[in-house]
Symmetry: C2
């Protein structure tokens, strides 16, 4: 599939709370020409991830620049080199790129990674890419699950959560998921190998969580924040670890949410239970450990020891709607948009 126009999705407005499709705009322009040292990339797959919500604010989150009004939405992609004036890349190469929400992009090669034999290539945006790496680093560095311990993660069928649960099991720990809906919970247990998964749409789910964690919680992988945290807190064991990689439940908050103030309860729990709660930003870790991760995770996926579930959306023009659905928890699995052929 080729096209002589570049479609791109730009930020039309800063969202108030949950974004709507009106916060985005599709623009069309010429396909850019690569200059000396540049490659022209054709986007095949675009990754949609919760962190993108943070980049839609006027002020960025600190670890990345915000998208300016009228600017192309940022995003990881699997792209094919269609023209190259760069010594290390040739037309036809498949690369992991940061081409954003558009058909074509230029790159000087600095942000590219040869894709190797990842099959299907879209996995390089999910379990074999940033979300998988997030699960891997958070568990290795902070969570450190030991055999027989209990690891809890929310958004259990999401891009990060599904890997957290399966890596926990590879460490010999029990994996208990939390997800929105009975279908997701069934998939978490039957397809992804969680020991249990609680449906947070069920008003009794905190009790079910307690029942599913009879020996308490040793690792809570925090990727959602919000109501889930309240149910988890009282179950934390002495010496529990809480890696913090996200807080999707609050990405759409404008002002601080109403009370009661839960900070004192948290502080008391950290103290009394000797809990270690630690944030990490995955961008810090690529240089040192990404290759080891790709080798190791690639083997687990090839062996079938880790199964990766994707939610595939067809068409760049549907990315805004798919992104809003992602923030509303309407997908199952890692969300990727098929922009071209594949």
């Amino acid at each position: 599939m080729t096209t002589d126009l570049n479609r791109r999705i730009v930020l039309a407005a800063h969202p108030h709370g949950l974004p709507t499709v009106q916060d985005f705009r599709l623009e069309t322009g010429p396909v850019p020409e690569p200059g000396p040292g540049q490659v022209l990339l054709r986007t095949l797959w675009l990754s949609l991830d919760p962190y993108m919500r943070n980049l839609m604010e006027p002020v960025g989150p600190g670890y990345a620049e915000p998208v300016p009004l009228g600017g192309t939405m940022v995003g990881g992609t699997v792209s094919r080199v269609v023209a190259s004036r760069h010594p290390r890349y040739a037309a036809g190469d498949l690369v992991l790129a940061q081409a954003g929400w558009q058909d074509y992009a230029l790159s000087d090669g600095g942000d590219l990674l040869p894709l190797g034999d990842v099959t299907p290539p879209s996995l390089a945006l999910g379990g074999l890419g940033m979300p998988g790496f997030t699960a891997y680093v958070g568990l290795q560095d902070i969570g450190q699950p030991r055999p027989g311990e209990t690891v809890v993660v929310a958004a259990a069928t999401g891009a990060v959560g599904q890997v957290v649960g399966q890596l926990a099991r590879l460490h010999g720990a029990r994996a208990v998921g939390i997800a929105g809906g009975a279908d997701k919970c069934r998939i978490a247990v039957e397809e992804l190998g969680f020991d249990a998964c609680l449906d947070r749409h069920d008003p009794q789910w905190p009790q079910h969580l307690a029942a599913a964690c009879p020996d308490g919680i040793d690792v809570y992988f925090e990727n959602v924040g919000g109501a889930v945290f309240d149910a988890v807190l009282p179950l934390l064991n002495p010496g529990a670890r809480v890696p913090v990689c996200g807080f999707i439940a609050h990405y759409n908050d404008g002002a601080p949410p109403p009370g009661p103030d839960r900070l004192p309860k948290l502080t008391a729990t950290l103290l009394v239970k000797r809990v270690r709660m630690q944030g990490f930003v995955i961008l810090d870790h690529y240089g040192k450990r990404y290759e080891a991760f790709r080798r190791e995770m690639g083997r687990w996926v090839a062996d079938g020891r880790v199964r990766l579930r994707e939610a595939r959306i067809d068409g760049l023009e549907r990315a805004p709607e798919a992104f809003v659905d992602l923030l509303r928890g309407r997908h199952v699995g890692k969300v990727v948009v098929r922009v071209a052929g594949g």
Copy 2:
């Protein structure tokens, strides 16, 4: 000084919020007789510490048993052995004990530690005892200040805070204190060697804190919680460490305090700034490291590299009032009650 009666201060009522002297009652009874293997202890100094507030609740904090209604208030003491039927202790020995808020107590020796040559002995309840050990372990294990970094601690002239600041300086870090009142701040800087100390009664203190930490905050030693945390949070540097040893600002809370809910802001800060926040309970660490601490800290105090300030109260009967004042921040230095001679 001797007496043939034992005065003890018991818990008369579970407090609602800040305790009052009416929550305590002075009772008088016979001096107990040591049985086989026991020693009779005379209390010389009684330690008053914020954690005791937690033991006044019907349900304990998890790391220690609550004091039952009518039970003698718990507390660390410097005591003299006045009669011994224990092979390792003789009348006249000075020991660190857990005799509680009373003139006399029995012990089977299991909770005693020979005092050695600590001078004055009351320091064994402060900088050379539990509060000093708390500062030492929290900084060594979690805070890990490096030369040139900035360490912030509240209750800067308190039992723990004064040691945190001075140990931070021994690590080559800057020490910035927060305290309630201009007098305390002057003492923190002039006597205890803090680089700066902000008076939290000054409405502008958060701005002054920012000015006193031009390179941000690398270690925040959390021993108070509450409003202080709000001012500290935005100043935390990437990779900051937050040891949590207490939350005195909320010991008197019944229900969770009103909103806004500060948990999402905290979680976001932990993530974006890659902060490690970790609770610890000092009881876990005595076995392995207390002797090394006593040697090291003893040397620093003897050298004058660490100065320890005490607030001395005369008379067991004044312990309840002194304790309430402690929770209200009305003392300067480690609070000890002189129960007998000394």
